[in-house]
């Protein structure tokens, strides 16, 4: 977030609406993936209720797909829960960065917004240049509803939807990440260094060291951020 921008004074309804608009690309990316998740979950014979409940209560795509795959191969529940923890630990790193932008915001707001942290909502929220909690709530809530809504759709219509519906759409969230990052790279050379270093470390972590992608992303994010956090460096 560009630190120069202070708390905005626009009415809450306008803040919320702007948040929803900013989150549109997330919703577009989430819905087909959520539909694919709903279809897959029903095919491994999860009930519609369980399928929806997982999106409502877990709300973390990668771990939900993994859980369904593991259920299909007959993995144990504890094993699934442990793997979920490992995949979703990176939210600690993202959450710390988001909360750091919310100085002076009430603790209840911080808690509520934290529950909406995903890779995508975090990226859109922190690069939006705004930190009004109602604006951020608009982002978090629309992403959440897109995920849950898509899951319900897929879960109800699974007999009519091919499970590979998400395949050609899987580029969507990457395209969103790229469209967030590139303008920042143009704005500041340091962003090129930070993001480039993170890519390099992540590639080395997964390909060379054989780290699970969850751990590799955490390592790359922290290491690249720390490397460029020296005193003279401004973000």
């Amino acid at each position: 977030m560009r630190a120069s921008e202070g708390r905005e004074t626009r009415p809450h309804a306008a803040q919320f609406w702007t948040g929803i608009q900013v989150a549109l690309p997330i919703a577009v990316g989430y819905i087909p993936i959520a539909i694919a998740f709903g279809v897959m979950a029903r095919q491994v014979e999860l009930s519609l209720w369980d399928t929806a409940l997982m999106s409502i209560l877990v709300y973390a795509g990668a771990s939900q797909f993994m859980a369904v795959n593991m259920l299909a191969t007959g993995a144990g529940g504890l094993e699934i829960i442990l793997a979920t923890l490992v995949i979703n630990l990176r939210h600690v790193v993202l959450g710390l960065s988001l909360i750091n932008l919310l100085k002076g915001v009430r603790p209840a707001w911080k808690g509520a917004l934290s529950l909406g942290v995903t890779d995508e909502s975090f990226a859109v929220a922190t690069l939006s240049g705004r930190n009004h909690p109602v604006f951020l709530a608009g982002i978090m809530l629309s992403a959440y509803l897109a995920w849950v809504g898509g899951t319900l759709l897929g879960g109800m219509l699974y007999q009519f939807i091919p499970p590979d519906i998400g395949n050609s759409m899987s580029i969507a969230l990457y395209a969103m990440f790229i469209s967030l990052l590139i303008p920042e790279m143009r704005r500041e050379r340091k962003v090129v260094m930070i993001a480039g270093t993170a890519m390099l470390i992540n590639a080395l972590g997964t390909e060379l060291l054989g780290l699970a992608s969850g751990w590799s992303i955490i390592l790359a994010t922290l290491a690249a951020s720390a490397l460029f956090a020296g005193k003279g460096e401004k973000a």
Binding site: I81, L94, S97, S114, S179, P183, I194, L222, A235
Partner: protein, 99 residues
């Protein structure tokens, strides 16, 4: 088969990492180095989330390379995010037919 207790467990281990930062940060003063580190995280996280993951969207890494490449070009010319997404999806669909 009811998986409700697995779902509840997954929910718990996902919620705790999400809530932990808000709880911790309200109870400590953030030193300058950590503050600067945390401000770098969005850029680093985006880098790590994009690469090499984008190459894995298809068995053939060229598909992801083409989709990602089109997104980079469109984003470089400051196209709206929605156009970047649509362009990348179109590029992937075409690439899958050709490659």
């Amino acid at each position: 088969m009811s998986a409700w207790w697995i779902i509840l467990g997954m929910s718990l281990v996902t919620m705790v990492p999400r809530l932990l930062p808000a709880w911790v940060m309200d109870r400590m003063v953030i030193p300058g180095f950590v503050d600067r580190l945390l401000k770098n995280i969005p850029y680093a996280a985006l880098g790590a989330l994009i690469f090499p993951g984008v190459l894995l969207i298809d068995k053939n890494p060229v598909i992801g390379l083409i989709g990602g490449g089109v997104a980079v070009v469109l984003a470089y010319f400051r196209m709206h995010t929605m156009l970047v997404i649509i362009g990348a999806i179109a590029a992937v669909i075409v690439a899958k037919m050709v490659v």
